[in-house]
């Protein structure tokens, strides 16, 4: 394991410096090739016929006319691809093309490969399909109320996909200790990634029986497995090349039907086959934020200490499983990472509905519960007459501790984050003191730096790096990681350059190609910097050892005195004595033969030993605090956010300018979710998406974007490479609740759901003016039968991380 090894912070030459990204030049000149930029001779084009009903049985499917249409090479139907797949092994409930039944508008039904896109599109009209309509389920409540017909034949029962109940310590005993108890019901609407790039893939099948797929995936390794399975090919006959992703945000993590379809078409036609989805199709592929209804019951002392929390969530999963089981866990497991919670009960339900499937979007499953928790903290502080910043500050999870649900916390910089934004925003002078219509609000968050377990069980590394040193002095890094814009290719170069004392631009980075690069699990769960970084440190340290041996013998300088810096290897005490890096490589190659090393990384085992303990643990947790400033127009309900102050505990930044870029991008996405972004469907019109387009799906433009004052808090975590923790997802989480809390400060109304649109604000303001509760949000949390909890004694109670038989409840 790499760990926070390497030099002291002051000695760092590359790490912590604002280097350009290794791909910056190609990105600003239009040279970077994205999937849709690829063209091959004899390439065919694919279009997909999609369901026009939200739920139905396929009575008739006749593609004969399309098959004989001039220019059409092949029409693919569900029966051609009978093997099911899905992102998680526990819910492999998808087929590339519907078999017998469609479950949502836009479900793929048939695919046409033709000489060009126009012909393929024309041929779609010739496919004859008839459906028998089945009742469609449009909401959480409808899914709970309508057990039949079932959308899927698996799951808990009816249209309940998944139920989970965990209790860490006796939560009723915790409530008994509380001075006050409050329960708040909140709703977080679904939203989508809206990556700028339209999903595209190209497949080629060689006469050697090998398939190559170029595609904009965030997780080539998982896709590789799914492809081989569905296509019935050995994995070593399948090669996935993840092209540079034009934005991901979680939207390119699932294996997609269109990726499998073009692969199959390439196998059957013997020609390269391409597809590029339209923007509308992408809205139906979705896999974005789950709409989540939440009930958070919290017991607390007069000083704000939390004695117990019972947190319940119901997720609207859409039509398929996808990553949904993991999302379900994430609507509760990270709650205890910020403030001490003595006892914690977490119940979650995921239902199926006939809408685009939900899955991982930036923050995967955690922005929703964080919103619930952080607006409740604001209410608790208000109820107790405490300053919400100070109250939070007082009850932080201590560093190097175990949370109530057995997550191991390393460094914990949330206190410093709070201090920074409180000071920067002049919080004390402004909170509850601004004129009506203006307000500020605070919220905090914690997030993981990489999931502790892979999505299929195995004991192998999560990330591997191979290094090749050649006589030119050039170093090539091979790694399966995928750059989705966050800069993961550059991180590899910076880290190897730091260890070997060369320039990052001396290094070539080869990534995301399952034939050429060792496995990295993918760009999800904020895992890449930490895991590939540690693997890269190990590989580079091993290479360095070889160079050290060769140089030390040659120069007669003890190994521990050799310094690698400025493309030289020299005697620390007598810098004149040394040689260039290239010369060192020559020497080592002469001594050892061709130079290459490997490194790998696997997180430590999770402390929790109960069933389900694998979701939540992470090598390190990042922390963020944000203060949002708002202006609310009480006449129109329009909310403007001029500024957000945000501090992020990053451990150690590998490159500050990229870290700040991740924070600003996170604030942007949080702002969009807070105020405008929503995936909504027309229940009365066959559940078509209300606005599957860039124009009508509202997202912040340059005009809505707020100013961002960012602070990087560096408190190196021993599990991170050079101490680094994540920055790509965590900073989004405090933004929506900070805005909601600021709106309360501005106009005295609580908006307990996002997006906080003007109509909701106005309704709450008007209700308040009439003497009613100044609140907008859900008021009931529906009932769902739940199984008995998995009961786990807390670390404080001396538990060992295992579940036990339920102790008798206090009388």
């Amino acid at each position: 394991m790499g760990g926070a090894n390497g030099a002291e912070q002051k000695d760092l030459r590359v790490i912590g410096k604002p280097h350009r990204k290794v791909d910056a030049a190609s990105k600003v000149t239009g040279q970077t090739k994205y999937a849709d930029d690829l063209v091959f001779p004899r390439m065919l084009y694919t279009k997909i016929l999609r369901s026009t009903v939200p739920h139905g049985r396929i009575l008739k499917l006749d593609a004969s006319k399309a098959e004989s249409y001039p220019g059409v090479k092949l029409v693919l139907l569900g029966k051609d691809l009978p093997i099911p797949y899905g992102a998680l092994p526990v819910s492999e409930d998808e087929h590339p093309l519907a078999i017998g039944k469609v479950r949502m508008m836009g479900d793929p039904v048939a695919a046409v490969a033709a000489v060009d896109e126009d012909v393929a599109t024309e041929a779609l009209d010739l496919i004859d399909v008839e459906y028998e309509l089945l009742p469609a389920i449009s909401s959480i409540q409808a899914a709970l109320d309508t057990p039949e017909p079932r959308i899927h034949e698996y799951g808990e029962f009816g249209n309940i996909h998944r139920r989970q109940v965990y209790e860490f310590g006796d939560v009723e005993a915790g409530f008994a200790e509380a001075d006050f108890i409050r329960e708040d019901i909140t709703f977080y609407e679904g939203s989508t990634h809206l990556a700028l790039e339209q999903h595209a893939s190209v497949a080629q099948f060689g006469h050697d029986g090998k398939l190559t797929l170029w595609t904009c995936t965030q997780d080539p390794h998982y896709l590789h497995r799914s492809l081989a399975k569905v296509l019935g090919l050995p994995q070593n006959r399948v090669r996935v090349i993840a092209t540079t992703n034009g934005g991901g945000f979680g939207g390119k993590c699932d294996p997609f039907a269109h990726e499998i379809i073009v692969s199959k078409l390439a196998m059957m036609t013997g020609r390269p086959v391409k597809i590029c989805l339209t923007r509308e199709e992408i809205f139906y592929c979705h896999r974005g934020r789950h709409p989540v209804l939440m009930s958070t019951k919290t017991g607390f002392k007069k000083d704000g200490a939390i004695t117990a929390m019972h947190h319940r969530t119901i997720l609207d999963g859409g039509a398929y499983g996808g990553h949904g089981v993991a999302s379900t866990f994430y609507t509760g497991v990270l709650q205890p990472t910020t403030y001490q919670i003595k006892r914690y009960k977490f119940e979650a339900v995921r239902v199926f509905t006939n809408k685009a499937p939900c899955g991982p979007k930036r923050g995967h499953g955690t922005p929703q519960p964080r919103f619930a928790q952080e607006i409740q903290m604001d209410k608790i502080a208000e109820q107790l007459g405490l300053d919400p910043a100070e109250m939070r500050r007082k009850h932080l999870v201590p560093p190097n501790s175990l949370t109530v649900n057995w997550l191991r916390i390393g460094t914990m910089g949330l206190g410093k984050c709070i201090d920074k934004v409180v000071e920067g925003s002049n919080w004390r002078e402004r909170f509850r003191k601004l004129p009506y219509g203006k307000g500020i609000g605070l919220a905090c968050s914690g997030y993981m730096t990489g999931a502790g377990t892979p999505i299929y069980w195995n004991g192998m590394p999560h990330s591997g790096v191979q290094l090749k040193l050649d006589r030119s002095g050039g170093v090539t890094v091979f790694c399966g990681s995928t750059d989705i814009g966050q800069g993961s290719d550059s991180i590899l170069a910076y880290i190897v350059a730091e260890v070997l004392g060369i320039d990052p631009f001396d290094i070539r980075v080869v990534t995301a190609d399952t034939d050429l690069t060792p496995v990295d699990l993918g760009s999800y769960s904020s895992r890449v910097t930490l895991m590939t970084g540690n693997a890269a440190i190990q590989a580079a340290e091993r290479a360095k050892q070889m160079l050290i041996q060769a140089v030390s013998a040659k120069l007669g300088v003890p190994a521990d005195r050799l310094l690698f810096a400025d493309r030289r290897v020299s005697d620390r005490e007598n810098p004149e004595k040394g040689m260039t890096f290239v010369e060192a490589v020559w020497l080592a190659e002469t001594q050892f033969g061709t130079l290459g090393t490997v490194g790998s990384y696997k997180p430590a085992a999770a402390p929790g030993k109960f069933k389900g303990a694998g979701v939540g643990p992470s090598p390190a947790y990042s922390y963020s605090a944000a203060v949002a400033e708002v202006e609310v127009n009480p006449e129109t309900g329009i909310v403007v956010v001029p500024r957000v102050w945000i501090a992020h505990d990053i451990g150690q930044c590998i490159n500050p300018v990229l870290a700040i870029g991740q924070i600003e991008g996170s604030v942007y996405m949080g702002l969009g979710e807070a105020l405008m972004e929503e995936m909504t469907y027309r229940g009365n019109r066959k559940m078509v998406h209300k606005f599957p387009s860039f124009l009508e799906y509202k997202s912040p433009t340059t005009m809505e974007m707020c100013d961002v004052i960012s602070y990087l808090i560096e408190d190196r975590d021993s599990n991170g490479p050079f101490g680094a923790k994540e920055a790509g997802q965590g900073p989004q989480l405090p933004v929506p609740p900070a805005i909601a809390n600021a709106i309360y400060d501005a106009v005295g109304v609580r908006i307990d759901e996002v997006p906080i649109t003007p109509d909701k604000v106005l309704k709450a303001i008007r209700a308040k003016a009439k003497g009613q509760e100044g609140r907008y949000g859900p008021t009931v949390f529906p009932h769902c039968d739940m199984p008995a909890s998995i009961f786990v004694p807390t670390p404080e109670e001396g538990g060992d991380g295992k579940a036990v038989e339920r102790q008798p409840v206090l009388a």
Binding site: A24, V28, T29, L126, L196, G246, G661
Partner: protein
């Protein structure tokens, strides 16, 4: 789109257009319904121009026609006989990047890079018309370009940096834009 009945008899009539692209004369033949976006990407292999919607909603596909930014997905290429088109491939002068390209690279204003060509070209025109634009002016000029990665801030800062340098000032990015506030 409705199927054409007698596909076999359809003679694909191609339009022939002469225009200048990135300073060079180009003669290109293509199906007349094709947009400038399609002709650039498919017939001229200039894939630097991107598309996010193909409906004129995202700004990704912006190129310059006679020096004005246009959404290439909304322009029929047949209308461009004799016109001058500049794409991102034509921004650098030889090996020398345009100051906007330098500034975008320096500040990490291209994260995934997909929106970047559209922003660069739109900003280029802005700086030609308003060499020292205010932040507000920059926001207005770029309001039709969506970026999902950066939150726009690094883009604003990059435009400001390039503007200063183009005015001959030896400008450097502010400390805060790189290291955050202290």
């Amino acid at each position: 789109m409705k199927p054409t009945k007698k596909r076999n008899n359809r003679k694909p009539e191609k339009a022939q257009v002469c225009l200048r692209v990135n300073g060079e004369p180009v003669e290109v033949a293509f199906a007349p319904h094709k947009t400038l976006l399609e002709v650039l990407r498919e017939d001229l292999a200039l894939t630097g121009t991107k598309h996010g919607c193909e409906l004129g909603e995202c700004g990704c596909c912006a190129v310059l026609v006679d020096g004005r930014p246009v959404l290439s997905c909304l322009v029929l290429a047949v209308t461009l006989e004799g016109h001058e088109v500049v794409t991102v491939e034509g921004m650098a002068e030889g090996a020398k990047l345009h100051p906007l390209q330098e500034a975008f690279a320096e500040l990490g204003a291209a994260q995934c890079g997909y929106c970047t060509p559209g922003f660069l070209l739109t900003a280029k025109v802005l700086l030609e018309e308003t060499p020292q634009p205010s932040r507000e002016r920059i926001k207005k000029a770029l309001a039709g370009n969506i970026c999902r990665c950066t939150g726009y801030i690094k883009i604003f800062q990059a435009v400001e940096l390039a503007a200063a340098r183009m005015a001959g000032k030896p400008a450097e990015p502010s400390k805060e834009s790189i290291y955050g506030w202290r």
